[in-house]
């Protein structure tokens, strides 16, 4: 009865293709069309600036609490860029960049954070799920949705985003386990941004990596430099292809950094060192990608200047259109509308009670 090593079928690798100095490992360089590269860059820059604008709007009191994405653009867009339109994306609450990539209306994003339920509308054709606030609870949805896809013999996949903190939650475990047992076409993309509000990654788990958690479920896991959009894209592409061809789920851990606050209600100076933030600024996903695009002659400084102007104007339009939309909203009886497919009698009565109050003069 010898003691012997058990072969777990998968090993954990770390993937980096484009380092922080813009050095490229050309053997690993993914084949991405020029158009797609340019679009990825534009969306990274757009969402960075939009995020900054949202922070200003929040500080001005025009918008409520939200969770900024600054620093995580590559981890989000690199992964989402692999998806086809009919694939599904299940975000948590810090994936604005991925949502915008998927075509989510920026006006609606602003509406939700300005406290209007109307912004939650998911258009009929969209396969991007709403923001999910309770940590990790979207993970089982992605597993179940992917089960339904497999059941219907469709070829789409589900990509679900979650953070490092989520890996401590039961729903993370239960969702990955279900996906692996039933070999559903699910891709789990962990945004390991090092901090769950004030709690560092080292307090979430004693594991060396988050990617290795995949091994316990019998699925492949990979750790990538999450600020390297080529590495994220490459790992996501492998995972999506595996899922699409019926070979089950994958966990991708993107090593990235939350360069801003947890939410606008948070003050990180209470718990983390400014030096750490400065270190990560050197690894900024956007400047790194710009170096790569310049080397490929797909981008010049002049292009960047023009793009910044264009984005500024786009965001201005979005903000203006959002402000106009808010003027038209404000039928508060809407709160009753979508509780059930059909309003039950007690809610009909409560709605009438509320309408009567509205029509009453002080």
């Amino acid at each position: 009865m010898p003691k012997k090593e058990i072969d777990l079928a998968y090993k954990i690798e770390h993937l980096s293709i484009l380092d922080e100095d813009g050095e490229l490992d050309s053997d690993l360089e993914p084949d991405i069309s020029d158009d797609l590269l340019v679009k990825m860059h534009r969306t990274m820059l757009l969402t960075r600036r939009f995020d900054e604008r949202m922070l200003t709007l929040q500080r001005q009191g025009k918008m409520g609490t939200f969770a900024p994405i600054k620093g995580q653009e590559a981890s989000q867009i690199g992964a989402a860029a692999v998806l086809k339109e009919k694939d599904w994306l299940a975000p948590s609450f810090r994936e604005m960049a991925a949502e915008v990539w998927r075509g989510k209306s920026m006006e609606n994003i602003l509406l939700v954070y300005a406290g209007f339920n109307e912004g939650g509308l998911i258009p009929d054709e969209s396969h991007t799920l709403p923001v999910c606030i309770p940590v990790a609870t979207q993970v089982p949805h992605a597993a179940g949705l992917a089960y339904a896809i497999k059941f219907k013999k469709e070829e789409n996949v589900v990509m679900v985003f979650h953070g490092d903190g989520a890996t401590s939650e039961g729903d993370f475990h239960e969702g990955l386990n279900f996906a692996a047992v039933f070999q559903t076409p699910t891709v789990f993309v962990c945004q390991n941004n090092q901090w769950a509000i004030s709690v560092p990654r080292s307090r979430q788990t004693h594991s060396k990596t988050l990617a290795q958690k995949a091994l316990a479920y019998g699925m492949p896991g990979i750790q990538v430099d999450g600020n390297d959009i080529l590495a994220v894209y490459s790992a996501a592409k492998d995972a999506v292809e595996r899922a699409r061809s019926g070979d089950g789920p994958t966990l991708i851990e993107c090593i990235t950094y939350r360069m801003s606050v947890h939410t606008t209600a948070d003050d990180p100076s209470e718990y983390r060192d400014e030096e750490e933030v400065k270190e990560w600024e050197k690894r900024d996903p956007i400047t790194r990608f710009q170096k790569y695009l310049k080397q490929k002659d797909l981008l010049s400084d002049e292009d960047i200047d023009n793009l910044e102007e264009e984005i500024k104007s786009d965001i201005k339009d979005v903000v203006q259109s959002w402000e106009e939309k808010m003027e038209d909203l404000g039928d508060p009886t809407d709160m009753f509308t979508y509780q059930y497919a059909e309003l039950p009698p007690h809610l009909v009565a409560q709605k009438e009670e509320f309408e009567a109050m509205l029509s009453k003069k002080e």
């Binding site: 599904w88 339920n117 109307e118 939650g120 509308l121 998911i122 258009p123 009929d124 969209s126 799920l129 709403p130 999910c132 309770p134 609870t137 993970v139 089982p140 949805h141 992605a142 597993a143 179940g144 949705l145 992917a146 089960y147 339904a148 896809i149 059941f151 219907k152 589900v158 039961g170 729903d171 475990h173 239960e174 969702g175 386990n177 279900f178 047992v181 039933f182 509308t337 979508y338 509780q339 059930y340 497919a341 039950p344 009698p345 007690h346 809610l347």
Partner: protein
């Protein structure tokens, strides 16, 4: 079809709905090969295969959460939580998502799913196997909470629940699973969710009850008739939420006396809501204080003391007589 017990009747509803609609799937712990610990899902695996009758890993939050995901993509999951005492782990998924998804997405995704769980005492089980905490669900906007009392209604209501476009919590009184048989028609039968039923007419006192408490309330009503000459009206609530208050508030206008009977804890229980509706809608007709005969506000004891916790005919009669003599 002949006479069936509640287990067979629920099984019939599942079979017929699965036969009729290929999107209906059943998932849960031991629901496949084992046919469910109470045999409610017996035979479904053989008839519909393991893609539609899923023995899941032991994870209640995932069972509910994966069902939400399935419903987003058009399946109609009927998931089983083995005992309602374990459903609190699923509660978060039901509250945070199943109940809210329609509103969150402004109508795009309604979560058409049923969460079935056996609840209540009566089977000499371990701790966590005997509770009656439907109030948790009934308190949650966006959910519907249904509790049948006998085989025929269980079948009809489950069919309605499966077809309902909103998430339905379907609490099955395990004490009534095999307690008695009823004629259950072979032909399709539904019963509207959100509607109660007058199961015994009377003019002197109104009983409002549901689930496993219906039979003993009917027994108490018979005793009142025989021993006191009192004609009791008995209303079977059937859906706890949204609550149909029309029949019971009207009934009390006629009788002036009311006793609410449920197995759930008294404070903040469904009876408290019924009492509030009675005061709001039939206050001037009440001739005596509203009486609640319920489980006490204690952790339900193990089965040797369970009969002391759960209302029995003696307690129901005592409550009724005190009310009548007020």
């Amino acid at each position: 079809m002949g006479k069936m017990n509640m287990v067979e009747a629920i099984n019939l509803a599942l079979k017929q709905e699965m036969e009729k609609d290929g999107d209906v799937i059943v998932l849960g712990e031991d629901v496949g090969v084992d046919g469910g610990v109470f045999r409610v899902t017996e035979g479904l695996l053989d008839a519909y295969g393991e893609e539609r009758v899923i023995d899941t890993p032991l994870a209640e939050s995932m069972i509910a959460g994966a069902s939400v995901g399935m419903a987003i993509h058009g399946l109609k999951p009927v998931c089983e939580i083995q005992f309602s005492g374990f459903s609190y782990i699923s509660f978060h998924q039901m509250e945070a998502h199943a109940a809210r998804y329609r509103a969150r997405t402004q109508g795009r995704f309604g979560i058409q799913m049923v969460l079935r769980c056996p609840y209540g005492g009566g089977v000499r089980a371990l701790e966590h196997h005997s509770e009656s905490r439907e109030a948790y669900y009934a308190h949650t906007p966006g959910l519907k909470t249904v509790i049948p009392s006998g085989p025929r209604k269980a079948r009809a209501l489950l069919v309605s629940a499966i077809r309902d476009p909103d998430p339905v919590i379907f609490y099955e009184p395990k004490a009534a699973y095999r307690a008695f048989r009823e004629e259950v028609p072979e032909d399709e039968e539904t019963f509207p969710i959100g509607e109660s039923e007058i199961v015994r007419e009377g003019k002197d006192i109104t009983f409002i009850t549901y689930g496993a408490m219906l039979q003993r309330t009917l027994d108490a009503a018979d005793t009142l008739q025989e021993e006191d000459g009192v004609e009791a009206e008995v209303i079977d609530l059937l859906t706890v939420s949204p609550m149909d208050d029309q029949k019971f508030t009207e009934s009390v206008r006629k009788t002036g006396h009311v006793v609410i009977v449920h197995e759930a804890h008294r404070s903040f229980g469904p009876g408290a809501e019924m009492a509030a509706r009675l005061v709001e809608k039939s206050f001037l007709y009440l001739e005596a204080p509203i009486r609640r005969v319920t489980g006490y506000d204690v952790v339900i004891p193990l089965y040797q003391r369970e009969k002391d916790y759960i209302p029995d005919v003696k307690r129901i009669l005592h409550g009724a007589r005190e009310t009548l003599e007020f």
